[in-house]
């Protein structure tokens, strides 16, 4: 049996016994259709059951399997061994987040930022059920659809040097989500959200590196959302000069 194999480096960190992370190398059977996530599952089932990593859907929809593959943020279930074979692959937990254990990171700050931007429709006035639904044309929906495709995987935060340099920055996914609601015709919360956008750590923490949009597995294009919000924030600044609130 001449089975093909591939070497995988995994950055390990076990908080109860390690003071810092270290690299452990595994040899995994290689097939062209195998994803990085499947390779990790092979490791856990056959080589070392203590390796920890997150996953759920295996189809790029839950956003839980983000990790660094050769220092690039990727979804483990959407990256394949064939794109690296026969080179060695190095796996590390998502950059710019604290490591909880092995490939699992602490995402609290990311979640907090998503919540802070008021990610829900703020209607002009509350409608009673009997008054019917909020309606929207396909054109109105097209204005925000792209920004609503986010799966909260955090890859864009791992790609963002500004977040790495200063994690007060609201960051790509949260700002894209904010744009998603501001651009929704059913929403009337723009004025509230612009206060978040206008801050130094809002949209102005961004220097348009643009890597977030490159790594995003869902083509959300958070960099574009942020640029458009910068334009909005500038308009808001001008208006604010003439009628301060």
């Amino acid at each position: 049996m001449s089975e093909l194999t591939i070497e995988i480096d995994v950055l390990r960190y076990r908080p109860e016994m390690d003071n810092e992370p270290f690299t452990q190398t595994f040899e995994v059977p290689y097939t062209a259709e195998m994803s990085i996530l499947e390779a990790l599952q092979y490791i856990k089932d056959h080589l070392d059951s203590t390796v920890s990593f997150r996953w759920s859907c295996r189809m790029a929809i839950c956003g839980s399997c983000g990790l660094m593959v050769n220092s690039v943020p990727k979804l483990g279930c959407k990256a394949f061994l064939r794109d690296y074979y026969p080179q060695k692959i190095s796996l590390e937990p998502l950059a710019n987040f604290p490591i909880e254990r092995d490939l699992v990171v602490v995402m609290d700050d990311f979640i907090k930022k998503l919540e802070e931007i008021k990610p829900y429709i703020i209607p002009e006035k509350e409608k009673c059920l009997s008054e019917g639904t909020y309606q929207q044309t396909p054109e109105q929906m097209a204005k925000f659809k792209q920004f609503s495709m986010c799966i909260n995987c955090g890859l864009c935060y791992a790609a963002c040097p500004q977040y790495a340099l200063d994690n007060k920055f609201t960051g790509p996914a949260a700002l894209a989500l904010l744009a998603r609601y501001n651009r929704d015709s059913r929403d009337n919360g723009e004025a509230e959200r612009m206060k978040i956008v206008n801050q130094e750590e809002g949209v102005w923490g961004c220097t348009f590196v643009g890597y977030c949009s490159v790594v995003c597995p869902k083509d959300v294009d958070p960099a574009a959302a942020i640029q458009l919000l910068k334009v909005e924030s500038s308009k808001d600044y001008l208006i604010g000069m003439f009628k301060p609130d």
Partner: protein, 133 residues
Amino acid sequence: MSKTTEKTYKRSHEPVFWGLFGAGGMLTAFLTPVMILITGLLIPLGIIDQHYFSYEKIHGFATTWYGSVIVLVLVALPFWHTLHRIFHALHDIGINRGRDWQQVICYGFAFAVSVFVFTLLLQMLTAPSLFGF
């Protein structure tokens, strides 16, 4: 109660600088290459004859009201673009001490050069006989 009150948000003045940065960047993207090509390569190398860039011609242009405005914009606006980038790049490469001073120095520099060029042009415009011949 204090927990439920809205947190306070502080508006950044970045739009002012970002606006100038964008305008300067636009100008730089469209015109700086050809400007460098003309003043830095074609004229010095004699590919375009020097008489096309003679003192009389340039001085004549810079002392019309529209010419002086064009020269001011072409020379001064790119500073607002480049110094903005330099200011942010300092943060990127980890020079975090005295960000306030860095800001004053960077935009102050752009401002100082703009005023310098503006004054020269105004001088040439209003008192062409003061200097030169």
